[in-house]
């Protein structure tokens, strides 16, 4: 399901299946995109931040057009305990690989992989020098 921002329109509530993974796409060329994501985060239930949220930064192939610092996005990821992925949609190889990664994550979040749950992502997020 694609949405431009949160909250989702309520008139479609009855048509929506269970949401297993929320991917926030941030276009590195657009400050507006980061702002939009920051505002939308407020509408996500806290339980999702146990591995069911991820940030996807796109447009990283064009170094000269960056409007957002990668540092700010990484800090956002840390604040919300969620992984940050970087990708360039215009490169087919990277696009396909990222899509496969997301599908794998989705499978885990949906509980389709026995023995692994979304909580595993949270433990992987912790930095080694935190302990």
């Amino acid at each position: 399901h694609l949405a431009t921002s949160l909250p989702l329109p309520s008139e479609r509530d009855h048509l929506r299946p269970r949401i297993d993974l929320v991917v926030f796409m941030i276009d590195i060329k657009s400050k507006y995109s980061l702002k939009n994501v920051e505002t939308s985060l407020a509408y996500v239930d806290a339980s999702y931040f146990l591995g069911k949220v991820c940030f996807l930064v796109t447009g990283v192939g064009r170094k000269n057009d960056c409007s957002i610092e990668t540092n700010s996005v990484c800090k956002l990821g840390e604040a919300y305990c969620s992984p940050v992925l970087f990708c360039e949609l215009e490169l087919e190889g990277v696009r396909v690989a990222t899509a496969q990664r997301l599908v794998r994550m989705l499978g885990i979040c949906a509980g389709q992989i026995p023995g692994v749950s979304a909580l595993s992502f949270v433990s992987l997020m912790r930095k080694s020098n935190d302990d």
Partner: protein, 346 residues
Amino acid sequence: MDETVAEYIRRTVLKIPRDEIKMMLQNWGFLSEAQLQTLNFHQIKDNISQEVVQLCEENSADIKQAAALDIIYNHIYQNKRMWSVYQMKKSGEELEYFDITDFKKKFKRRLRSALKNVTITFKEYEDNAIWIRVAWGTPHKKPNQYKPSYVVYHSQTPYVFISSSVLKSTLPLLCQALIVASNYHDIREMELRSHSLNSLKDIVFKRYSQNFQTDTPKPLQGGNVEPENADIRIVEENKSEKERIHRLNQEVFGSGPQPKLEFAQYRLETMFKSDPKMDVLDKKEPFRCLVKFSSPHLLESLKSLAPAGMADAPLSPLLTCIPHKARNYFKIREKKSLYPESFVSP
């Protein structure tokens, strides 16, 4: 043949892309078909132009013919020049029959009475456009052929498109000659400028598609509407919002291509409004600021802002009024009334 004429012809030919030279010379019609056959268009342009000059020498070309070639070049490459739009006003309602010979005579007479050394060339085109080229001199110097003014006048309309010479002092003379020749009594410059002459014509002649609904809006190639082959597994949550934006865009911009403008400029003479606690710019003077929007195709990019998610729809009327108001230069002043909002000056 005068060597200044020879040099001018040589330089004009050099400007033309090599593949177009033959076509333009044929269009010009000054060299015979037999003479054109002798030209080798596959050599470097320097040599081609030298050969052309030699042929012109044989035909004893004078500045009139050279100027005619220049008009042809500028008509085809009209978008290399910056054009301004002027509107003429008649004193009464009389619709006089337009006589082209009379117009040319009066125009030449008016200019020459003010300035002896001018080169004036006319060329009429099928779309009722009269092209005028004026090269300016001084009482003591021959006209400078390299800094001419170009005027495009559609006789059935009160509009004149001028690409002025860099010699600024020539503009008032040019305007005067135009109103005298066309039997108008006044001329004013509109705040509308662009490189695309056709787009300026589209705007003032209202030839672009405006916002009245046509029977079926055709889907645009730019991708403003959802592509039909989108995967059915993709669900758009904000479909109704996207459709609202699309509908608003159609209402404001129409469904056809937009006239091509390169910029919009807003000169602000408004008071700076800040939080009183911030104590910034306490002076009661207007805060002077110039906002300029530039784009290879300004109106198309404005049209695609909301669908691309880069701006909220509807866009500010200051941006969307550009074609309707036929202007892309604005002055915004404080409204002197009870409600301190800014307004656009006429």
